[in-house]
């Protein structure tokens, strides 16, 4: 490709000049075979596979960064992953592509601080060790699961997944499971206090009532299957974002940055893609690899089929706020408590970012899910850090002055992602999961939300492969 960074610089210079002269950039690049929209794993995998079969491809990316929801925080100590962090060894496409591109994979570090028995609980304003928690009178969890870490209770309550494989998640035979998780919990007599605690860890919906039981089972099956064949999950040496970057480098065609697509016109003869800056791109086909919240800002002509359009509008994406804090002093050795916390308070969860797995994390991640994000969203960085420090000090008194604000990543506030991943609400898998990957005219769809088997990174890779395959049949 024409190197992305160079393109970015070129583009930045051009737009600065355009801004200075008051003239909008109006370029008329040469027609190409396929325009891929979105330089995340899905789009880039589609692009490279299409080029492998001799097609000319151009990638348009709205942001100034390659990788989409693979985002390695290179500027934070320990380089934490803000996006996709675990590559299943069964994630065949992800692993194979990393191998082909010469990237090294290594098992995710296992921090001794993340051992289950070291979990610190902070519930109702009181601090417990996990060993204590099982005997706490206020522990609202059902008797047989009281001693478990609270983040493991939900999967135990709903029981083993009835999906024989992740390949079954869209199978209509499971449609009866596409109901709110709360339906099962209420039938099982799980009280409100327990349900509130269960929501803390739930990353599949803002509330349990908005979480599909089928999606929960799908997620559980995914977790089981990604390590079933070849063992524990992995990451790319140097950061997972190196994978989409390597994909982009391997392309012959251009990856144009800061090109926010606003309209896609699909005709009998070809497609016309219009960007916010006025540029117009023509091709025979399009791969739209945008997350749905970003797709909401694209006008499709002709309009998408009714169910597809409804899915784009309705499907919610996960709210996730991460507060990355650099460690200036390992305060936990003073407190004797691992910086690994689960809480019903505003911090929700804290994890050490122990990239070497040696018990010396360079940073911590405060991880807030769902509705809990709102109280942080309202704060600027200084107020956010003041609040995070005060809340942490309630649990870890020695943490005062031992942490430095590094970065906030709030995926739901990033307009180009719109959230962490597609959070299929009850009924939505049955209604939308098939429709979302059906081509419309000359436009083919990819992205994590259009995967047919695994979730996450592999869903993205698989969807790019599928979209490329669909186009190759027609091209």
């Amino acid at each position: 490709m024409t190197v992305s960074r160079r393109n970015l610089l070129k583009w930045a210079a051009a737009s600065a000049a355009a801004a200075a002269s008051g003239v909008r950039a109006t370029t008329a690049p040469a027609p190409t075979d396929v325009i891929v929209i979105g330089a995340g794993l899905a789009g880039l995998n589609a692009a490279l596979l299409l080029e492998d079969f001799g097609l000319r491809v151009r990638v348009l990316e709205a942001s100034s960064r390659i990788g989409g929801r693979l985002y390695t925080l290179d500027d934070v100590a320990g380089k934490p992953e803000a996006g996709g962090n675990q590559i299943g060894t069964a994630y065949a496409r992800t692993v194979d592509t990393a191998n082909r591109l010469g990237l090294k994979l290594e098992p995710n570090a296992r921090s001794p601080l993340l051992r289950e028995e070291r979990m610190v609980l902070y519930v109702g304003g009181k601090r417990y060790t996990l060993a204590d928690w099982g005997n706490v009178a206020d522990n609202p969890m059902p008797e047989m699961f009281r001693a478990l870490p609270p983040d493991r209770v939900l999967s135990r309550l709903v029981g083993p997944s009835p999906l024989a494989s992740v390949a079954e998640w869209r199978d209509p035979k499971h449609a009866a499971l596409d109901v709110p998780v709360t339906q099962l919990l209420e039938t099982g007599g799980i009280g409100r206090a327990a349900r509130e605690l269960l929501q803390v860890t739930n990353g599949l919906g803002d509330t349990l009532a908005e979480t599909s039981l089928l999606n929960l089972y799908y997620s559980q099956t995914n977790i089981t299957e990604i390590i079933k064949i070849k063992g524990p999950t992995q990451n790319v040496v140097g950061g997972n974002q190196r994978l989409p970057e390597a994909l982009a480098r391997a392309l012959k065609g251009d990856v144009l940055m800061q090109q926010a697509v606003r309209a896609i016109d699909s005709t009998k003869d070809g497609v016309v893609v219009r960007c916010e800056d006025g540029s117009v791109h023509r091709a025979r086909f399009v791969v739209c690899a945008l997350p749905l919240p970003a797709m909401r800002r694209v006008a499709f002509t002709p309009a998408l089929p009714v169910v597809h359009a409804e899915a784009v509008k309705q499907l919610a994406y996960g709210k996730v706020t991460q507060i990355h804090l650099e460690v200036t002093r390992p305060f936990w050795s003073d407190d004797g408590l691992a910086p690994y916390m689960w809480s019903d308070g505003p911090l929700e969860r804290v994890f050490p970012q122990d990239s070497k797995g040696d018990g010396n994390p360079q940073s911590l991640i405060v991880w807030v899910n769902g509705a809990g994000c709102a109280s942080w969203d309202a704060l600027d960085d200084a107020a956010l850090m003041a609040r995070a420090s005060a809340e942490l000090a309630k649990v870890y008194p020695a943490s005062k002055g031992a942490l430095k604000f590094a970065k906030r990543v709030a995926w739901h506030r990033n307009g180009l992602a719109g959230g962490s991943w597609a959070n299929w609400a009850p009924g939505q898998i049955s209604r939308y999961a098939v429709a979302l990957s059906v081509p419309s005219g000359r436009v083919h769809f990819a992205g994590e939300h259009t995967g047919h088997t695994f979730r996450g990174m592999e869903a993205a890779m698989e969807s790019g492969e599928r979209a490329a395959s669909e186009i190759l049949v027609r091209a």
Binding site: A90, A92, T97, A164, A167, F454
Partner: protein, 154 residues
């Protein structure tokens, strides 16, 4: 083998190895532009267009399966190598860690003829319930036929 302008024929009948030493090689006829790719056991006539369709369909397989015939690929790919799979017995790749259900199917005499391969591609659980092959088919019947033709041509 480049076949964009040539037909590829893979013999369907049992090849009489005694009849020709060229049984393992390919021969071309300048007169009609045809290419005959020969496998020792079976064959189908496959047009260049179908062969290309098969190659495209194999895109959905390539992350998990090599077709190099190289046993070491088992250590890097998630699935076994598929070179020579047509009409071979299941579970044949030495050193590959087949799942228990696939081992069982193999011990029950499963062979990868066109019919069993087709059923496996449509849904691997039809062949070996519980197999670790994770695949949700999106290929149509014609693409699957082309894919099997492509595998037979290797």
């Amino acid at each position: 083998m480049t076949t964009s302008d040539r037909a590829v024929v893979v013999l369907l009948c049992v090849w009489c190895l005694g009849a020709s030493n060229s049984a393992w090689s390919q021969s071309s006829s300048a007169a009609d532009g045809m290419v005959t790719a020969v496998t020792p056991v079976t064959a189908v006539t496959i047009s260049p267009a179908r062969l290309q369709a098969g190659r495209i369909a194999f895109l959905r397989c390539a992350a998990c399966h090599s077709v190099t015939g190289d046993a070491t690929s088992a250590s890097v790919k998630v699935g076994p190598d598929l070179r020579g799979v047509i009409d071979a017995e299941a579970g044949r790749v030495a050193g590959f860690g087949y799942s228990a259900p696939m081992k069982k199917a193999a011990s029950n005499g499963l062979r990868w003829d066109a019919a069993t391969l087709k059923r496996c591609i449509e849904n691997p659980a039809q062949i070996a319930p519980g197999t670790s092959m994770v695949y949700a088919n999106s290929l149509g019947a014609e693409q699957i036929d082309a894919l099997i033709g492509y595998l037979a041509s290797l």
